[in-house]
Subunit: 192 residues, 2 copies
């Protein structure tokens, strides 16, 4: 039995993305965003939606570059602080004792303490009402060495990123391996 | 120490979305998509990216409507099958013994066996290289009654959705509550 909740912003899971930019004075800033995701394979692109009222919105348009740093379970308080405070009012890197590392490929800073960082060049903007969607081309993915699998790929359990649960407003952890993609479906028995 | 992986499609977590459409002959079809996410609050919108070669791509443009059904941990095999087989070649609902329920608000079918379903009207398309991004306005969110919190909101632990880990190609489960959003950040001690 399904209950209709009406037109709500719900999906599960939703990522917790710390969006890093240099502002007009080249001061590093970072905001928290949960509306977004990967959106293209070739070129690899990620979309993130940002309200026009934010300090980051202006920086994104002016610099045309941003980073996405992924906080871990242990960094939930830090991520939430970043979501609560405006970069116009306060230097969040300084307030939290975080390291603003300059991107290697793009003119934007990232949170060095996060285990995964994406560097992006702005390619498209799309106005969507409350939010502007910024599509960035991923120029590099940087991962802490201890979060890599033996194959050198980012292991989701070792990365230990958060997800945000909309409507209930919770940060939650990610769980364990369930099945191999592009493989487990081959074992499903057809019913017709 | 961070290792550069280059321009890769990586983010964590990434959702597993089953995108339902009626094709030209009004046959229900469903595909698996992982590139996408919420993208606006007012109006509530979700974006999903689809390759032009898919059967769903044509149906999305022709019908202007789609659904997103969220599979659970127990439905990983079903979700992967849906990702491996084209709706041009086979009726995936019939093959898997799934129920194609017609949307209440939009002209698209959903997977009744999934605990969460979104109904969407197509509002924007954006060409991004390998994928077209389809932005839909969320007209309704339907949730199984036993997945709701006491407050009547979707509880991420009860919904038990999957996430897809790119590059390692794994389906993984979601984990437990970590902290309250818009709250835990207020307890963080400023360092400056």
């Amino acid at each position: 039995m399904k209950i209709s909740l009406g037109p709500q912003t719900f999906l599960s899971p939703v990522p917790v993305m710390l969006v890093g930019t240099f502002d007009v004075d080249r001061k590093p800033n970072v905001m928290a965003a949960a509306w977004g995701g990967l959106c293209s394979s070739q070129p690899p692109c990620l979309a993130v939606s940002v309200r026009r009222s934010t300090w980051t919105h202006r920086a994104l348009l002016e610099r045309g570059a941003f980073t996405v740093s992924l906080p871990t379970r242990a960094q939930a308080g830090m991520a939430d602080f970043i979501g609560l405070v405006s970069g116009k009012a306060e230097d969040k890197f300084a307030a939290l004792g975080l390291t603003a590392s300059a991107g290697e490929h793009v003119d934007a800073p990232y949170v060095a303490e996060c285990p995964v960082v994406l560097e992006l060049l702005l390619r498209h903007t799309l106005e969507l009402g409350s939010h502007t969607q910024f599509v960035g081309e991923i120029m590099d993915v940087k991962v802490n060495r201890d979060c890599l699998s033996p194959d050198g790929l980012p292991d989701p359990v070792r990365v230990d990123a958060l997800h945000y649960a909309p409507l209930v407003n919770e940060y939650c952890a990610l769980g364990d391996f369930v099945a191999r993609a592009f493989a487990v479906g081959k074992t499903v028995k057809r019913q017709s």
